[in-house]
């Protein structure tokens, strides 16, 4: 079984149809596939975890092996972000749990879909999420923490060398803040090196958006391992 099939699991057929539409440059068809699936009862979380995430990984692999161009890769990502926006009526309708989190890419990190998915899954879990996007200046992140006083900060670093930016950001937060803020990190480098999150001073690491929500709930309830 190849990686895409493994990651999408029982949603493989749906993910395959969505990916095919993206690669055929059929934005409207791709959108319809997802909206129809949700109308028919597929959980938006499953769409995120078993359709969008594996499709993004597969698109990355297709570019890496020269089967699609950078432009195609960017197009597919843009369409997925647009479809995510169309799912917001489903995402922002739940009951709130009173918790707040901020989700951001470190300065220099341009890959934003992963951390946007994290923010949306927190929202689906009842949190108020504040998604800051790609390449956010660290001073701006610090200002946001100061003004919102969230319980969780989720930081994404996808390109390996951006781990150093995450480390510098965490140092700055610890120097400037006396709050009980808990910091979660995620992104490919942290999947490769299981203890990397500890080395840069984070409170936890999550391998995907669902794990991030689970870890955050453990951290704020003081049940972290």
């Amino acid at each position: 079984m190849y990686e895409f099939e493994k990651e999408s699991g029982k949603f493989f057929n749906l993910a395959q149809r969505y990916l095919d539409a993206l690669l055929r440059v059929q934005r409207d068809a791709a959108t319809r596939i997802i909206l129809k699936a949700v109308e028919e009862g597929v959980d938006v979380k499953d769409i995120y975890l078993h359709v969008f995430e594996p499709c993004q990984h597969e698109i990355g692999r297709l570019w890496q092996t020269n089967q699609i161009t950078v432009a195609q890769e960017h197009y597919c990502s843009a369409v997925t972000q647009m479809v995510m926006s169309q799912l917001y009526p489903y995402i922002f309708q739940g009951k709130k749990n009173g918790h707040q989190m901020v989700a951001t890419c470190v300065a220099g990190e341009m890959h934003e879909i992963g951390i946007r998915m994290v923010a949306d899954l927190f929202e689906m879990d009842g949190w108020d999420s504040y998604y800051l996007g790609a390449n956010t200046p660290h001073e701006s992140i610090l200002d946001t923490i100061k003004s919102l006083n969230p319980e969780i900060l989720a930081i994404s670093a996808s390109i390996h060398y951006n781990v150093m930016a995450a480390a510098r950001l965490i140092d700055k937060i610890k120097e400037s803040s006396s709050t009980n803020l808990k910091i979660l990190v995620g992104g490919r480098p942290f999947l490769l090196a299981p203890d990397l999150w500890k080395k840069i001073g984070a409170h936890g690491f999550a391998s995907n958006a669902q794990e991030a929500v689970k870890m955050a709930n453990q951290l704020i309830s003081g049940k972290e391992e």
């Binding site: 060398y161 150093m164 490769l192 080395k199």
Partner: protein, 135 residues
């Protein structure tokens, strides 16, 4: 190739970071002299090599600061799959790593280079393995 590497000292890391621009420039200069290895890039050769060496330098800095060789392992796998499509052969990558190592040896104080060179040696050894695996 699961070897354990520790973080290098702050002094060695700072020396590497300070010398980074020179290391990149000199590695590119020496690589450009091997005309048969860069001619396929045409007028873009110098820029392509510079971008590659900047990337290598940032990855090395991260791996050495954190003592994480897995970062370099993943990048070499990525390079194996991607760079030949950009007309950068696996053999050329290997040769440039060797040049890069020579430049570090020439430029940095031995007190610092002795901490840095094991990372380059590992990359060279791993790249040789990758080339063998592709045959």
């Amino acid at each position: 190739m699961s070897e354990t590497f520790n973080s290098i000292s702050k002094d060695a890391l700072n020396a590497f970071i300070s010398a980074g621009p020179y290391i990149i420039k000199e590695t590119v200069k020496r690589s450009m002299q091997r005309k048969n290895e860069v001619e396929q890039h045409g007028d873009d050769a110098e820029q392509i090599l510079t971008t590659g060496m900047e990337f290598t330098t940032r990855m090395l800095e991260t791996a050495m600061a954190l003592g994480e060789i897995s970062i370099l392992e993943d990048e070499l796998r990525w390079a194996r799959d991607r760079l030949p499509h950009d007309k950068v052969s696996l053999e050329h990558i290997l040769k440039r790593f060797k040049i890069y190592r020579d430049v570090i040896n020439d430029q940095l104080d031995p007190e610092y280079s002795k901490e840095i060179i094991p990372f380059l040696d590992w990359m060279i050894k791993r790249q040789k393995q990758i080339i063998e695996e592709q045959k």
